[in-house]
Each structure stands twice: as structure tokens, then as C-alpha cells.
Subunit: 355 residues, 2 copies
């Protein structure tokens, strides 16, 4: 086992003392980086990039090379690998986002879905994890991830992205049993997939519940959180002699932090609509908090970015338990120099809150 | 003064006893109705429909004629009438939503903006209010409305709709003084406009803060709520011998209900992510609550719609102070029969909670 040279991120997730607030960015390996765009051009397209462990490793490393202060790497992949492995036929149309050749619409469609085996059916992801861990050589920890069952279900039923989730919500309300069967199969799949990533070398995992926050409070509990609870219960929590923290991020879930924290995960991801000090007061004794600068602040000048970082650090306050991040993924048009200003500001301004 | 035959809506907003929970739907005069589409075709386009008081009256009445159980009418108009009257040149491109010919980008642009006079510069809206009041003849109360200053500012700076509010947020963070000047001018304009509507006959007013919920908690307080507070302070609260209730609706504002209620408005609009019982526990002693069924539930079958109405009524519980509504506007593809099932269910299932 390689010695981890920088474990600030893992320590903060477990609320152990740190010297500085660790920082990473959701979608840090992404289109805002010219080196990423070059790799994607080499690979041909997004699918070619993602399904090739060498390319996935290459782009995972790019933000770490550009921004040496980043405290974590995140596996370069896509949340829709599981539905693809279930046979839905993932593809990307330019400017249209992800699409499926065979969306799921009926109970019969759902009954026919297999539970993918991580090594057999998603081997390219497991290989990417192993390749990246080897390339990282202990530099920073590697985060694995998956989409939440509800989030995956929306894409599978809609056949792609959606503004109002019309088909998936109509299925939920008209035929809750069918939706529960779909979510149950996804829960089994996500649990096996994340455990596969942990065995392959992921040192923390994040569940992206991108669309749970678009449900009513009642439907969120029944159709999103209940299944993430099952996943949390089924995950490997210690591997290679070290705890494997779980981060749960429900975008737009700020009203439900208490019930999310009650799942027993280690950390909650917060979007920018939640005030860090409020979140800490509400659930900070149970979980670490990750977030939460509005990614759009990166379109402002470095002085403004720095002021917003300072405000959020002060809002969390003294002590460990905060992993700095954006409140959602970094967007393609951001100037990489602005992302750099963000990362530097976190380290520079956070020392006063530690030690 | 005409006697109001059905004042259930106004009474519920003031938490006075009612026999049934009143109901209306945001965007109830809209594209889901074939009679609306026919009127729009007659008028030529949306601008022709909205700027003609006779047409505006015609489409305002359509949902009342189709659904006799509706407890309120809402002025047919658009939130962007104010920026248009400021000289930005509102137009609609098919499938593109609202656009401005002259977006606002610099401090000089903002300094040059006039404060529109309601009767002189927005006379077509005031005339529409008078025409509708006359046509209603006391059947149900008429709701007037305006967009919140922050919501209007986003359209004015972006030049139209936006996914991430990049330009408006960059202005907010890079040049807060300029943004404050814009918001201050909009606050003066909205206050005068809503007071104009009240004098012309609007019996309640709603402020639509459609995009405040996309700000960070801190920015929401400073750049959206503070200005709605000023509007609330400046509105006529009694007219023609009757109180004029104010409803404030910040979409995605569920985390901030306490501070919204503290503005002293009469009612809060809730989107579907807030549990009605939680909202009542948090702020129900101060304000009435309006909402909050997920509009997408209308894509499900009437049985499911009825079950969701029952769940929300039970969540609010016994007594007055609840105006039933959707959590956002009704969408164009909804079957009008489903909207009817929704409205009927509210009256049929709510008697048990009153009297």
C-alpha cells in the first residue's frame, strides 16, 4: 500500500484535525480546461474518453497538475455508466446531453433490467480506478462516485435530460410499485458498483443526487432518500486499513439536511443556497460538510472570488469538518485562472481556522 | 363598489374562517387551454394579447368559465412589462422565451433607466385591471402581480432567460453598487406599478421572485429579500374599505421562510419541495401559506392527482390560512381535464378541515 502524502481531504471528512481546509471542485476534470478538450479530441468523443482507462486517467490527472493545491482527485466517468451497462444504450448528441437508445417506460421494461456486475460489466471503470490510483502514487486520495437511484431513474425513464421530469414523475405517481422496483434494482446496482470502486482503490465515495431536490418533500423521502439510505447501509466503510468516507450530495436538498444526515453517511454536499453556518448548526455535530460556493462566482473577477471564499470559510468557522468545493460542477466557460484563484484562496485564507 | 360574491381567497390569506380551502393556479390563463390558444391566434402573438386590455380580459376569464370552482382570477400579463416600459424593448422569439433588444450591462445603462409611471407608461395594464374587474362583476377577487426586483434584473442583464445567470451574477459580485442601483430603481418601479394595480382594482397582489432561490443564502438576503421588504413597506394595504393582502413567492426559497415571513407580508407562496406541515410549524402563526402541489403531478391520472391533493390538505391540517395552488405555473402540455380534477379535489376534500 502506497503511503498517502496528503490526507487532508479524508481527515476533514472524518472531522479529524487538519492544517488547512481541503479543496476540490466537482467536475474539475472538464471542458473549462484546454488540456481536457485536447484529450477529448484525441479520444474522438466523450464516450471514447470515458470508456478508455488510459484517457480517463489522463484527464483525471490534468487539474492536479495544473492546480497543485487540489486535495483530491475524482474518477473521470459519468453517472450514466450503470444504465448503459443495464443495456439502455447511452450516447451523446452534440448540444443535447446524454440520451438512451432504449428508455425504460413500462413495468415489463423494468422487470427485464439486469443488475450489472462491476468487474464484468463495468470493467472499464474499475480499470480506470486502478490506473488512476497507480498514477496518483499517494499524491492525494481518489474519490469514486455514482448517481443516486432516483437521479439515474429520471434519465432512464425520460430517455435523457429533462426540464420537468414529466415521464418519470408521471410513472412515480401513477405506478409507484413500478418506480420502486426500478429504484430497488438501481440501489443494488449502485451499491455493487461503489463497492467495486472501493475494492479497486477509491478512498472515498460520493453519491450525486442531482435531481432528488426536484421532488416534493414527501416524494424525496420515499423515492430518493430511502434508497440512498440502503446504499449507505451496504457500502464498505473500511478498506486497506483506512475508513472510506461517504459523501451524499442532494442538490437543492437544503431543507432536508437533518434527514440526510440521519442516514449515517460521513459528509453532506451542500449547494450554495444553504448558509454554511446554518448547516453546521443543524447537522454539524453528526456529519462533515462539503461545499458550497456558487460556481457562477467563477465568472466574476479573482478579487470577488476571494471575498466569497473568505465569507464561506468564516461562515463554517473554526475547526475541521469542512471540505471546500463549489455548490455544483464547474461550468465549461470558466477561465482556468479563475478556478486557480478559487483554489489558492481556500488554502491561503483557511489556515486561521485550524490548529 | 360591487359586492364580492366569493371572498374565500381573501379571507384565507388573512387567516379568517372559510368553508373550503380556496384554490387557483399560477398561469391558469395559459397555453394548456385550447380557448387561450385561439385567443392568442386572434391577437397575432403574445405581445398583442397581453398589451390589449380586451384580449387580456378575455383570457383572464377563460379558466373561470371552464372551472367554476376557481376562487380567484389573476391579471393576464407578463412580469417583464416594467423593463419594457423602461425602454429595453421586450420581444418574444418562438421557442426562445422573452428577449430584450437593449439589455442593461453597465453602470451608465443603469443610470439612464427611467422609473415608469403606471398610468402613463403602463396604461394598458391598468386598463386591463379595470376591464377585468368590471367583467368579473364581483364573482371572485382579482390578483395583481409583478416580478421581484432581482428576478427582473436577471432578465435585464442577461437580455432574456438564462440557465446560470452568468452575466447578472458576475455584475452582482464584481460591481455590487451597480446592481444595487438597478435593484433600487426596480423597487421604486414595482412599488408604483403594484400600487397602480391596486388603485385600478387588484384586490390582492403577488410578487413573483422566480429566481431569488438561485442566489446564495447571503446574496438572497442582500439582493432579493431586502428589496421585496422595501416593496412590502411601500404598498397600499387597504383599498375600497378592504385589506389588500400581499403574497410573496420565492421559488426555491423554502430554506428562508422565517426571514421571508418577517417582511410582514400576509402570505408566502411555497413550491413543492417544502412540506406544508413544516412550513406551518415554522411560520404559520405569522402568515398564510399558498401552494404547493408539484405541477408535474398533473401529468399523472386524476386518481393520483386527487391523492396528492388529499396529502397536501392533510399536511396543512385544520383551519384557515391555506390557499391551495400549484408550486409553480401550470405547464402547456397538461390535459385541461386533469387541471379540472385538481381544482374539484381541493374543494371536495377540504370541507373536513374547516367549520
Amino acid at each position: 500500500m502506497t503511503v498517502l502524502k496528503n490526507d487532508r481531504f479524508l481527515r476533514a471528512l472524518l472531522k479529524q484535525p487538519v492544517d488547512l481546509t481541503p479543496v476540490w471542485m466537482m467536475r474539475q476534470a472538464g471542458r473549462y480546461l484546454p488540456e481536457y478538450r485536447a484529450s477529448r479530441a484525441k479520444a474522438g468523443d466523450f464516450m471514447g474518453l470515458m470508456q478508455n482507462p488510459q484517457f480517463a486517467c489522463e484527464v483525471t490527472m490534468q487539474p492536479l497538475d495544473r492546480y497543485p493545491q487540489l486535495d483530491a482527485a475524482i474518477l473521470f466517468s459519468d453517472i450514466l455508466t450503470i444504465p448503459d451497462a443495464m443495456g439502455l444504450g447511452l450516447y451523446f448528441e452534440t448540444g443535447e446531453g446524454p440520451r438512451f437508445k432504449k428508455p425504460v417506460r413500462t413495468l415489463a421494461d423494468i422487470e427485464a433490467l439486469p443488475i450489472p456486475d462491476p468487474e464484468k460489466d463495468l470493467g472499464y471503470v474499475m480499470d480506470a480506478v486502478r490506473t488512476i490510483r497507480s498514477e496518483l502514487n499517494g499524491r492525494v486520495p481518489l474519490i469514486g462516485f455514482a448517481g443516486s437511484p432516483w437521479t439515474l431513474a429520471t434519465y432512464m425513464v425520460e430517455g435523457g435530460s429533462s426540464k420537468d421530469f414529466r415521464k418519470s414523475k408521471a410513472l412515480l405517481y401513477d405506478n409507484p410499485q413500478a418506480m420502486h422496483l426500478l429504484l430497488d434494482k438501481l440501489t443494488q446496482s449502485v451499491t455493487a458498483y461503489l463497492n467495486g470502486q472501493i475494492r479497486a482503490g477509491a478512498q472515498a465515495v460520493q453519491i450525486f443526487d442531482t435531481w432528488g431536490g426536484n421532488l416534493s418533500a414527501a416524494a424525496y423521502q420515499e423515492f430518493s432518500l430511502a434508497y440512498m439510505q440502503k446504499i449507505a447501509n451496504g457500502l464498505i466503510r473500511e478498506h486497506d486499513g483506512r475508513q472510506v468516507p461517504i459523501i451524499l450530495f442532494t442538490k437543492n436538498g437544503g431543507q432536508w439536511l437533518e434527514s440526510i444526515a440521519a442516514t449515517g453517511v460521513d459528509a453532506l454536499g451542500l449547494d450554495w443556497t444553504t448558509e454554511m453556518s446554518d448547516a453546521r448548526r443543524r447537522v454539524g455535530d453528526q456529519v462533515a460538510l462539503q461545499g458550497n460556493m456558487d460556481p457562477t462566482v467563477l465568472y466574476a473577477q479573482p478579487t470577488a472570488i476571494r471575498a466569497e471564499v473568505a465569507r464561506i470559510l468564516a461562515s463554517y468557522g473554526q475547526g475541521s469538518g469542512h471540505v471546500f468545493n463549489l455548490g455544483h460542477g464547474i461550468t465549461p466557460e470558466v477561465d482556468p485562472a479563475h478556478a486557480g484563484a478559487f483554489i489558492e484562496a481556500v488554502h491561503e485564507l483557511s489556515a486561521q481556522y485550524h490548529g
